[in-house]
């Protein structure tokens, strides 16, 4: 599903590639051919879209794990300690795969987009240097946390996990701040194509940083929460209705339920930010071609011929959302020339998918909150657990969709208004061969990761609890 979305996103952007000169047979490096440009975007999309899942789990799961371990240590609860042990084992695998898939991205910044790094590498370097420090802290303390569990006192062990959680959230902040810079490039002057007078702090704390980082970090915790809960929802559906599986479901799901309404508010804030700072991106996300007041909120539909067709329209909905009044004028795609527009279909449909899933998660959370308030138990309907199992996957899909909105919605720019993606791509010929090989590797990696993780959930010992007897 994800790669299909990426493909359609990249296909739709052929307007961008028509800028490039066709030179498939060139031996020396010239401007990248359309095929290579497409390949570079697909490769970046694939590796980032893959890593973002691992990254979300890496940001969110340590917090959940530490909460469970803390309660287990405080209360001596064997079920909670078993949960902590098993989550730690899963995090060990997920972090390793996330570490290597993240490393590839730092390679690809140069392998695929040397034009960006050549000019702007120094402008966005500082948040990446900070991220490097945070990654170090994560890797070091994860090694201690996982391998020294039985060598440290329960309290010291718990404390050794705290840096992992803090560094995970910090990493997300630093990386997304660098990505926010691509949306709002600040902190430098340009002289003859080279940057001068760089202000790394202005670059890092650009206007897009607050909405993007908050939105992404909340999303990461939601993915970790709903994905973990989803695993236990499946187990509950299969009849493992004991306390261990109920706790494994309820603790993460509660976190997700608390965050769902918060994320709706944060998402609204992020959209209002776009209305002010990147109106062309919001216009693409909402499928709005003409600048107007009483702009409708369009759900779904297909864009062609400079208009959105077959969409369900809520009259004046978009004007209300942007400015609390039907009279609010919302900027449409007609404000920018066609060559500066993002492809509407993937951005609009991605946006609708993300928002739709956000409301689905909100309603599901409200369902649990209601039954819990009335009778302190899960809803009796098996549909609740079925939907909760779906929610784990849906949260991941929402992150992918949102990421398509922010990345494809920024096109044709790699640094908004400053550098086009086509100017940044590696001019070396044959990038498409590299993409095919990388794609093959990711297929193998996906199969292996899913297989190993599924084996780990299946070998769940129900009782007795071997691992924590050593504690």
């Amino acid at each position: 599903m994800m790669s299909a979305a990426v493909v359609s996103a990249a296909m739709a952007s052929d307007a961008v590639m028509s800028d490039a000169v066709m030179s498939p047979l060139a031996l020396a490096a010239g401007p990248a051919s359309p095929a290579d440009m497409l390949a570079a975007r697909l490769q970046m999309g694939l590796s980032l879209g893959w890593h973002i899942i691992l990254a979300c789990l890496g940001v969110g799961m340590p917090g959940l794990l530490l909460f469970v371990e803390w309660r287990a240590v405080r209360t001596g609860d064997a079920d909670l300690m078993l949960l902590a042990r098993r989550w730690a084992k899963a995090i060990g695998v997920l972090f390793a795969v996330g570490a290597v898939s993240g490393t590839i991205l730092s390679f690809e910044m140069g392998l695929l987009w040397p034009g960006l790094m050549d000019v702007y590498g120094q402008v966005i370097g500082v948040p990446f240097a900070m991220e490097g420090v945070a990654f170090f802290i994560e890797a070091i303390f994860l090694g201690i946390y996982l391998y020294a569990w039985d060598r440290l006192s329960p309290r010291t062990h718990l404390l050794s996990g705290v840096p992992i959680a803090i560094a995970g959230v910090s990493s997300a902040f630093f990386v997304v701040a660098a990505n926010a810079w691509m949306n709002q490039p600040r902190g430098f002057d340009l002289e003859n194509g080279r940057v001068t007078r760089v202000d790394p702090w202005a670059a890092m704390f650009n206007p897009a940083t607050p909405p993007q980082t908050i939105h992404m970090i909340v999303a990461a915790f939601m993915v970790a929460a709903f994905a973990t809960a989803g695993v236990y929802a499946v187990a509950l559906l299969r009849g493992h209705r004991d306390r261990y599986h109920r706790l494994g479901f309820l603790i993460p799901f509660t976190l997700g339920a608390v965050l769902s309404p918060i994320q709706i508010v944060v998402g609204d804030y992020a959209a209002k930010f776009l209305a002010e700072y990147q109106p062309a991106k919001l216009a693409a996300a909402e499928g709005l071609f003409l600048t107007r007041s009483h702009a409708p909120l369009s759900l779904g539909g297909i864009a062609y011929g400079d208009a959105l067709h077959y969409a369900v329209e809520i009259p004046s909905g978009l004007s209300m959302l942007v400015g609390f009044s039907p009279a609010t004028v919302v900027k449409g795609l007609d404000l920018v020339p066609p060559r500066d527009r993002a492809p509407v279909n993937p951005v609009h449909l991605g946006f609708d998918t993300m928002v739709g899933i956000g409301f689905f998660l909100l309603l599901l959370s409200a369902w649990l909150a209601l039954t819990w308030w009335r009778r302190r138990d899960l809803p009796r309907s098996p549909w609740f657990l079925r939907l909760a199992a779906v929610a784990g996957v849906a949260a991941v899909v929402a992150v992918e969709a949102g990421w398509i909105v922010t990345e494809v919605g920024r096109q044709p720019w790699i640094a908004y208004g400053r550098m086009r993606t086509v100017e940044a791509v590696n001019p070396a010929p044959g990038l498409w061969i590299g993409f095919l090989i990388v794609a093959l590797v990711y297929v193998v990696l996906t199969v292996a990761t899913v297989y190993v993780l599924r084996r780990m959930t299946r070998t769940a010992p129900v009782r007795p609890f071997a691992p924590q007897e050593r504690d």
């Binding site: 590839i104 040397p114 020294a148």
Partner: protein, 329 residues
């Protein structure tokens, strides 16, 4: 020293630590590949690198980030021209890391074989390709500019092959030396790794000497640098290598770690010493490549604060790793 020079040194310290720590983890994979039926060795290797390889691996990211922040045109030139070997190294990194944890997490024999083989083979290929990258840069085949060098001959050439073979050899040598002491602490017989360390030490030494002839023909500027300004480093490396052989023969396993580390460090520092202040031979200097002074200073401050956080934590991790009981089961 100005900020650019300090950052250059900091970056090279990071690369040295990556070679000494991450390199040994790759070397562990090399010995895993060559362990044959000696599964006891595989267990010891897994025990030795399990808790630390991820932290050791971060040094590579550290080097990449410092390079693109501090010297962005050099980063762009290297990554774009050496697109092929660096993509292959990146894929090797994926396979090495994921296969290692997958093997640990899997229970069935065929899975352990499959993941183990991926781990071991990628542990050989990754340092080889990284070594070809070093050879490409050192022999002046990566000009400044985007993909300005030849995409193939930049890294398929005598110096690059020499770099690749030397990198694999150094990784294997370091791992064998480290594993001697690990074996002793695990209560195992270190004779196997002692034999391997001595053998690789001799082979790597011979290769390194033979390589000087290669460099004389293929990279004369580097050869001149190594035989003049960087000569002390070359001599120190040879001396430490010979001392390491002696210490291995004398079974001084802890002390030989120190001399092996010094030998590799001397090799690592001989290269930049030979070509300073040039970053991309023949003529592109660090001064032409350096980022603005504000960026350099802020980066140095960030890394300084980072070092205060990271270095004590690494020390704790290594101390814990040393004390971890060996589970022979």
């Amino acid at each position: 020293m100005d900020a650019a020079q300090i950052l250059l040194v900091v970056m090279w310290v990071g690369l040295t630590l990556y070679a000494l720590l991450g390199g040994a983890d790759f070397g562990g994979g090399v010995w895993d590949l060559l362990a044959g039926r000696e599964h006891q060795n595989r267990k010891l290797i897994e025990h030795a690198i399990g808790p630390v390889w991820e932290a050791n691996h971060v040094w590579l990211i550290f080097v990449l980030v410092v390079l693109w922040t501090g010297f962005p045109p050099v980063f762009a030139a290297i990554m774009s021209t050496l697109y092929i070997p660096l993509t292959l190294a990146a894929l090797g990194i994926i396979f090495r890391g994921s296969a290692f944890v997958f093997r640990k997490a899997s229970t069935e024999w065929w899975q352990q074989r499959l993941f183990g083989a991926s781990f071991a083979i990628s542990s050989v290929l990754t340092p080889f390709f990284l070594g070809t990258v070093a050879g490409a840069i050192a022999s002046g085949r990566v000009p400044p500019g985007l993909a300005a060098g030849n995409l193939l001959s930049s890294w398929v050439n005598p110096t690059s092959m020499y770099g690749g073979v030397l990198a694999v050899g150094v990784c294997a040598y370091l791992a064998a030396v480290y594993l001697c002491d690990d074996a002793v602490r695990a209560g195992l017989d270190p004779a196997g790794f002692r034999r391997r360390a001595i053998g690789t030490g001799i082979v790597v030494g011979v290769v390194a000497l033979a390589g000087i002839a290669v460099l004389r023909l293929d990279a004369p500027a580097l050869f001149a640098g190594l035989t003049h300004r960087a000569l002390p480093a070359v001599v120190a490396s040879a001396a430490m290598g010979i001392a390491s052989l002696g210490l291995l023969l004398a079974r001084a396993y802890l002390l030989v770690r120190v001399t092996a580390i010094l030998a590799v460090t001397a090799v690592m520092w001989g290269w930049p010493l030979a070509q300073y202040p040039v970053m991309l031979p023949p003529a592109f200097t660090y001064r032409q490549a350096a980022a603005g002074p504000e960026v350099l200073v802020v980066t140095l401050i960030v890394l300084g604060v980072g070092a205060l956080l990271v270095l004590p934590a690494i020390a704790w991790l290594l101390a814990i790793q040393r004390r971890l009981p060996y589970d022979s089961g």
